[in-house]
Symmetry: C2
Subunit: 408 residues, 2 copies
C-alpha cells in the first residue's frame, strides 16, 4: 500500500512547523495568510487528506454516522424506500465529508447491540434511526449512551397527535439543554426529564456487558433525547381518505403495515379520527394490520374481498402489498378500478408498471433523508435536538381509483 502524505511531510516541504500546518489547514487563526496559502497548495499537491483515525483519536469526532436497518432477511424485498432515503442522507453527509456506516440486522435487539458496539468502539458520532416503534427501546438506549440520534419517522405518543396537519415549523419539544455537545456537567441534568429508571445495559442479549461500573454507564441517563423527523402520516391519510370519499367511496379498508411501528399507529389513528368525524363506523372504514409482505397483503385482500359487503376501496401501506392486492383482485375477476379502487402508500416504479397504474402517495424520500442528515449534522455541531416535519406527501391519482360501482 502506497504511503500517504502526512502533516509532517507538508511541514517539511513548506518549511514550517507541524502545528502551523494544522492551523493553516483547519482555518484556525494564528498563521499568516501567506503561509496558509502556501501550506494549502502543498497539501493539495501532495494529495493530503486527514487521517480519519488520527483525527478521531485526538478527541475529535470519528467523522462517521451510522444507520442500522432491522429487517428479517426475507422481508428485504423491494424496499425502494431505503435506498432512496440513504441516497438523500448521503447527499448531505458527503458534503460534510462524513461517512455512513450501514448495517442490516435481523431485529431490534441486534440493532441495539450494534449501537452499543459502535458506541464502545467510538465508531460513529451519531446515528440515524429508522422504523420507530411503539414502546421503542432505542431512544432511551441512545440517550443513555449519549449517542446523538435522529429518529426518522417518529416517534409520537399515539393519540397525542392532533388529527389534522400540524404547522410545518420546528418545535423544540424537548427540554433544552444548553452548552455544546459532550460538555454536560455530570449529574446536573434538569430533573424530571429522565426516562423511567431502567438502565440501558439492561436489555443486553448475552453476557457481554453486565453491570457496568462507575466508569461507563452514566448514573443519570443523559436528558438529551433524540431529534425526530416526522412524516405527516396523519395528514397524508386524510388526503387519501378525502380523495376516495370525494369519489363516492363509503366502504374503505386500510391494509396497514406492522402494528408495532409508530407510523402504522399514526395512520390508523388518523383513519379512525377521520371516519368518526364523518360518522362512518368501523364496519365501513377500518384498518387491518399485516406484516408488509406480499404474502400477507395478498391473503388479507382475498379475505376482505370475500366478505358479504366488501369495501369498494383499498389503501395499502406499501407498494408491494398494493401490487399483490391488485393481482388478487384481477385473479378474482374484480375489475380495477370499476369495482374496486386501490391506493398505494409510497410510489415507485412498480406502481407505474402495473395495469392499471396505481394511484399512489408520492413523497420525496430523498428529501426526507436529507432533512434527517441535516438535523443530525446540526446536533453534532452542538445544536439542540429538534422535532422537524417533512413535507406533506402528494397523492398522485392514476388509473386505479375511480368512483365506486354504485354511488352510495
Amino acid at each position: 500500500m502506497a504511503r500517504r502524505p502526512t502533516i509532517k511531510d507538508i511541514a517539511r516541504r513548506s518549511g514550517v512547523s507541524e502545528s502551523a500546518v494544522s492551523f493553516a489547514l483547519n482555518d484556525r487563526p494564528g498563521v499568516s495568510e501567506d503561509t496558509r496559502a502556501r501550506v494549502r497548495r502543498i497539501a493539495e499537491e501532495l494529495g493530503w487528506q486527514p487521517n480519519s483515525a488520527a483525527r478521531a483519536l485526538s478527541g475529535e469526532r470519528s467523522g462517521a454516522v451510522g444507520l442500522v436497518l432491522a429487517r428479517p432477511a426475507r422481508t428485504l424485498g423491494a424496499e425502494s424506500f431505503f435506498l432512496r432515503l440513504v441516497s438523500g442522507v448521503q447527499e448531505v453527509l458527503s458534503a460534510g465529508r462524513i461517512a455512513l456506516l450501514f448495517q442490516v440486522v435481523e431485529d431490534v435487539d441486534a440493532e441495539c447491540a450494534v449501537y452499543r458496539r459502535w458506541w464502545a468502539e467510538r465508531r460513529v458520532d451519531g446515528v440515524i434511526v429508522v422504523d420507530p416503534r411503539i414502546d421503542d427501546p432505542r431512544p432511551e438506549l441512545l440517550a443513555g449512551l449519549g449517542l446523538p440520534a435522529v429518529m426518522v419517522g417518529g416517534p409520537d405518543v399515539p393519540g397525542t397527535e392532533p388529527p389534522g396537519t400540524e404547522p410545518a415549523g420546528t418545535e423544540p419539544a424537548r427540554p433544552e439543554l444548553t452548552g455544546p455537545a459532550g460538555t454536560e456537567p455530570p449529574g446536573t441534568g434538569p430533573a424530571g426529564t429522565e426516562p423511567p429508571g431502567t438502565e440501558p445495559p439492561g436489555t443486553e442479549p448475552a453476557g457481554t456487558e453486565p453491570a457496568r461500573p462507575e466508569l461507563t454507564g452514566p448514573a443519570v441517563p443523559s436528558a438529551r433525547l433524540p431529534s425526530t423527523i416526522r412524516a405527516d402520516d396523519a395528514g397524508a391519510m386524510i388526503q387519501v381518505l378525502e380523495h376516495l370519499h370525494g369519489l363516492g367511496h363509503r366502504r374503505i379498508t386500510h391494509l396497514a403495515g406492522l402494528p408495532g411501528l409508530a407510523h402504522t399507529a399514526r395512520r390508523m389513528a388518523s383513519l379512525r379520527t377521520w371516519s368518526e368525524g364523518r360518522g362512518l363506523g368501523p364496519d365501513r372504514v377500518r384498518s387491518v394490520v399485516t406484516d408488509y409482505s406480499d404474502t400477507e397483503g395478498a391473503a388479507a385482500t382475498r379475505r376482505i374481498l370475500a366478505e358479504p359487503a366488501p369495501p369498494t376501496a383499498l389503501v395499502f401501506d406499501n407498494d408491494v402489498m398494493a401490487l399483490a392486492g391488485l393481482a388478487v383482485a384481477t385473479e378474482l375477476g374484480i375489475p380495477v378500478p370499476a369495482r374496486l379502487s386501490i391506493v398505494a402508500w409510497d410510489d415507485s416504479a412498480l406502481c407505474r408498471v402495473t395495469h392499471p397504474r396505481l394511484t399512489a402517495l408520492v413523497r420525496d424520500t430523498a428529501a426526507f433523508g436529507r432533512l434527517a442528515a441535516e438535523e443530525l449534522m446540526a446536533v453534532l455541531a452542538g445544536g439542540v435536538p429538534r422535532t422537524r416535519q417533512s413535507e406533506l406527501p402528494r397523492l398522485e391519482p392514476r388509473e386505479s381509483t375511480a368512483p365506486p360501482p354504485t354511488a352510495y
Copy 2:
C-alpha cells in the same frame, strides 16, 4: 457522552501493565493463563471494546470495508438485489467485527473519487466493487492505490469465457505475490504484470490531486489485481434458453440491461454462442439493450411486440423490466403465457405478486454477498486474490412460460 473504559483502566484494576493487558486481549503469547483470564474477565466487566481509531492509528487496520453503489438517483428503484447482497456481506463482516461503509453516488467517476478519499483518509481496509464494466477503470485504480478489492460479478474479458459452465473450483488466475499484505518490496514487483501505463491519478475529475510526487502514487502500480466473484451468467443464460427451447420457442428476445456492464456483455455473448450452436440467427434469437429502467423496458417491449413476426418469448434482465413488459403485453391484449412467454432474471416478491406469476431465475444473492465478503477477508488476512465462482442460479418455472402458440 459517558466515558469509555480503556486498556489503562483494565491494567489498573487488574494490577498488571498495559502491555500485558494488550497481549492478553489479543491472544498473544507472553502472558500467563491466569493473568489472561483475569484480564479478560475484567475487560468484560468493564464492557471494554477496542477503540477503533486507536487501533487503526497504531498501524493495524481500520476494521472497515467499503461498498459504493454508483447509480443515478432515478434508477434507485426496486433494487432488491443490493439490500440482499449487503445483507449477505454483513453476515460475514460482522462476525469479524468489521464495519461496512456504504455510499451511493451518481456515477463511476464519483465512485473512484470515493475510493481515493477512503484510501487517503485510511478509512477502509478494502472494498467490495459491484457492477463491473467493460473497460472498467476501477481495478486499475484500486491496484494502484494498493487497496484490496473484490469485484462482485466480474470482470471477464468478453469472448474469453467458454460458453458452458466452468468448473466451480477456485482458480488463482493472477500472478502470485508472496508476503503478507503491505510488505511489498518497493519496485520489485514481477515484471510484465503491470496494467498499461496510465497512472491512477490521471482520471481525477477536479484538480484535487494533480501529479502526486514520489511520496504517494507508487511509481509502479501494485501488481496485485482485485479478487473476483463471478456469477455464472453464461450458464444461467443457457439454462433459460434451453428451458424456452424445450417448450418449443424459436423466436426469443433477450431484453438486456446496460450494455456497459460486464455481466450484460456475458449474457449477450452466451446467448449468441448458444443460438449459433443451434443454428438460430439473430432474426430469431437476439439481445436488445436497455438501461434497466421500467420505462425503457416497457418501450422496448412495445416496439418488439409490434414487429411483423414478434418473438414468442422474452427474457428480461431484471424483475422490474419483466413486470413492465408483462403490463405492456396485457395492455396490448396479448395473453401471457398463451401467446407470449416471459422470464425474469432475478427473482423477488414482485415476480410472485403478478398475475400470472413470473418464471424467474432465482439466485441466492445473500450467499453471493457472503462469498464476496469471505474472499475480501481472506485477502485482508494476506491471502492471494482469487477468482471464485458462485453457485449456478436456478430457473424457477412459474405461470409465465408455456409452449408457444404454434409449436414451430
